[in-house]
């Protein structure tokens, strides 16, 4: 593992931050919804109310958004700034994970470049709130988990539980990597005595539960109790379960020749779309996403060959989260798949690092150029569309 200099995190953070910051106040996005979210943030922190936002929205979002609007400003810039910061931190954490996983500078560098320039990540960091936090904290949990597996420091175990608990409190899908981390941990420690495992694992679990549940205290203080909480969770799953479809309908949208390349993972809009949807569609960078599947397959293969269960955890997390999102009936891939991107970038970073020295630097340059080419579309910056004509035609947006 290459030594970590003090300037390295800043060297990753600052470009990522600037890429997300430019034009932040003017970029279009779901600002209309934000008035509802901000209003709910006020109601929840003051009265413990779960409305007028969807009542199943997790309260950690309300508290976080209220905190952000007080600390960073109760306007578009303030609401979005927390996403910009957390999205930029996520890039740094992803690079640190790559450094710890693959013990080499190149995968960390390519992961940082891919993730920093990823259109989905840029769009999310500027327009959503809880997904960016959930992804950043899930990555933090993975980093602390890797450190804990390696060095067995109590602080790392507890920080892993803390990060994961808050991540799940923002978005429940963050529990998927958590379950996989638990499974891989038990596999790694399978020869340890049960008492030793319990004394390490139960505090992590306890911290995760507390850090998840404490966000509900304002709601509890309104008179609700544990049975009410269970009812709310059951109803929430019932309502949101209606958003999921079977494998068949999910995969049907991807069967035509261009489906795999330009309408990756169900991003199918079979009609002319406006400028906002162009950004949404380009958010899931199709060219990079094409490489995700083989890179993940390669990572899993190498994890078996090299007996690296933590690599397997990354690969399985990608697959599990991918399956979760691709089965969603709504175009959830557009706005909820941020958690997949860093895992895919990690796998691509590792796979490319196995190529020859010349090829991999060419790939790094190509990835950076491609990301910069797409950046205006992802960032909503007004540019001449001529350089993008071929691309836009492929996604049925020009003259369609």
């Amino acid at each position: 593992m290459f030594p970590l200099r003090w300037w390295m995190p800043f060297a990753v953070f600052i470009p990522s931050y600037l890429l997300r910051l430019i034009g932040l106040a003017t970029v279009f996005g779901p600002v209309e919804d934000m008035y509802m979210h901000v209003e709910n943030a006020f109601y929840y922190t003051r009265y413990g109310l779960l409305g007028p936002d969807n009542w199943w929205t997790h309260p950690a979002k309300h508290i976080g958004l209220r905190f952000a609007s007080v600390m960073l400003g109760n306007d578009i810039l303030g609401w979005r700034m927390s996403g910009v910061i957390m999205g930029s931190v996520a890039v740094v954490v992803a690079a640190l994970i790559a450094r710890r996983l693959f013990r080499s500078a190149y995968p960390a560098l390519l992961t940082a470049v891919l993730f920093a320039l990823d259109p989905l990540s840029i769009a999310f960091s500027r327009t959503t709130f809880e997904d960016t936090i959930a992804t950043c904290l899930t990555l933090c949990a993975i980093l602390f988990w890797l450190r804990a597996l390696e060095d067995d420091r109590t602080a790392d175990w507890l920080l892993c539980g803390l990060s994961l608990g808050i991540a799940v409190a923002c978005r429940q899908y963050a529990a998927i990597p958590g379950v996989l981390m638990l499974g891989v941990t038990l596999f790694v420690l399978r020869r340890e005595r049960i008492g030793v495992i319990a004394r390490t694992g139960l505090p992590v679990l306890g911290v995760a539960i507390i850090s998840y549940y404490c966000w509900w205290l304002p709601w509890i203080a309104r008179g609700n109790t544990m049975p009410d909480w269970w009812h709310l969770q059951y109803d929430s799953l019932h309502v949101q379960g209606a958003n999921f479809q079977g494998f068949g309908p999910a995969l049907m949208g991807m069967v035509d020749p261009q489906g795999w390349l330009f309408r990756w993972v169900g991003l199918v809009l079979r009609r002319p779309v406006d400028g906002r949807e162009v950004v949404s569609m380009m958010s899931s960078d199709p060219v990079i996403w094409v490489f995700f599947a083989p890179a993940i397959a390669y990572l899993i293969y190498r994890s078996i060959v090299r007996r690296r269960p933590e690599w397997m955890m990354i690969g399985l997390s990608f697959i599990a989260l991918y399956a979760f999102f691709v089965l969603a009936n709504r175009p959830i891939m557009v706005y909820s798949a941020l958690s997949i991107v860093p895992l895919g970038c990690l796998a691509v970073g590792y796979a490319v690092s196995r190529f020859g020295p010349k090829a991999r630097w060419a790939v790094l340059a190509a990835a950076a150029l491609w990301g910069l080419y797409l950046y205006p579309l992802a960032a909503g910056i007004a540019v001449p569309l001529q350089p993008y004509a071929w691309l836009l035609e492929r996604v049925h947006t020009v003259g369609g």
Partner: protein, 201 residues
């Protein structure tokens, strides 16, 4: 290989979880105010009823609503959206015409059992038919308002399902449309410790 740790941290973490589980019901229950003896109020309007209940200090309670208006449960999302666009002061929205919403929003009611009179049940059912939530003749319809369950029942409420005393909120002009035995049961001191009758006698 992991090192052997003491049980201290495990005990501390699990104690935290247990404490949270114990403290939660205490916190939740602490907001509920039960009165020792049944109080009965007769008021002229929904706004007065709102004021009376707020001044009585009841909070976090089950509320049984006896009314016949099919639109007693507001359209949550649309109303919330209107407020958010129009009210820049972020004050809690209060609708004098819809006491259900006001009482939920201000924490008096944490769940509402809406029992329309038998003659109005078809109209209420018609209102909910065809929506995403299924209409069940036995269990009625469960809806949410700001996360608070609102049970719309198409049968007389069996007080046995209520495990605590309730606030009964009734409109006087519909009382004669209910089964007297049901009214007597649901308004008895064993079931309701606060009864609010709205409308001039």
């Amino acid at each position: 290989m992991i090192r052997k740790r003491s049980w201290g941290l495990t005990i501390a973490a699990l104690s935290g979880v247990v404490a949270l589980m114990i403290v939660s019901p205490v916190i939740g229950g602490s907001g509920r105010t039960f009165v020792e003896k049944q109080r009965s109020y007769t008021v002229g309007s929904a706004a007065e009823a709102y004021t009376v209940l707020r001044q009585a200090g009841v909070g976090g309670r089950l509320m049984v609503l006896l009314d016949e208006r099919a639109n007693i449960v507001p359209r949550v999302y649309d109303r919330g959206f209107e407020w958010s666009l129009s009210d820049t002061r972020y004050e809690p929205p209060f609708q004098p015409l819809n006491v259900t919403g006001g009482l939920i929003e201000t924490g008096v009611a944490r769940q509402v059992y809406f029992v329309p009179p038998p003659s109005a049940r078809a109209a209420v059912k018609q209102r909910y038919a065809g929506r995403w939530d299924s209409v069940d003749d036995v269990h009625g319809v469960d809806r949410r308002f700001y996360g608070a369950p609102v049970h719309v029942l198409f049968n007389d409420l069996d007080p046995a399902v209520l495990r605590e005393k309730v606030v009964v909120y009734a409109r006087r002009d519909v009382l004669d449309k209910y089964d007297p035995a049901f009214l007597k049961r649901v308004m008895s001191p064993d079931v309701a410790d606060v009864v609010v009758i709205v409308g001039a006698p």
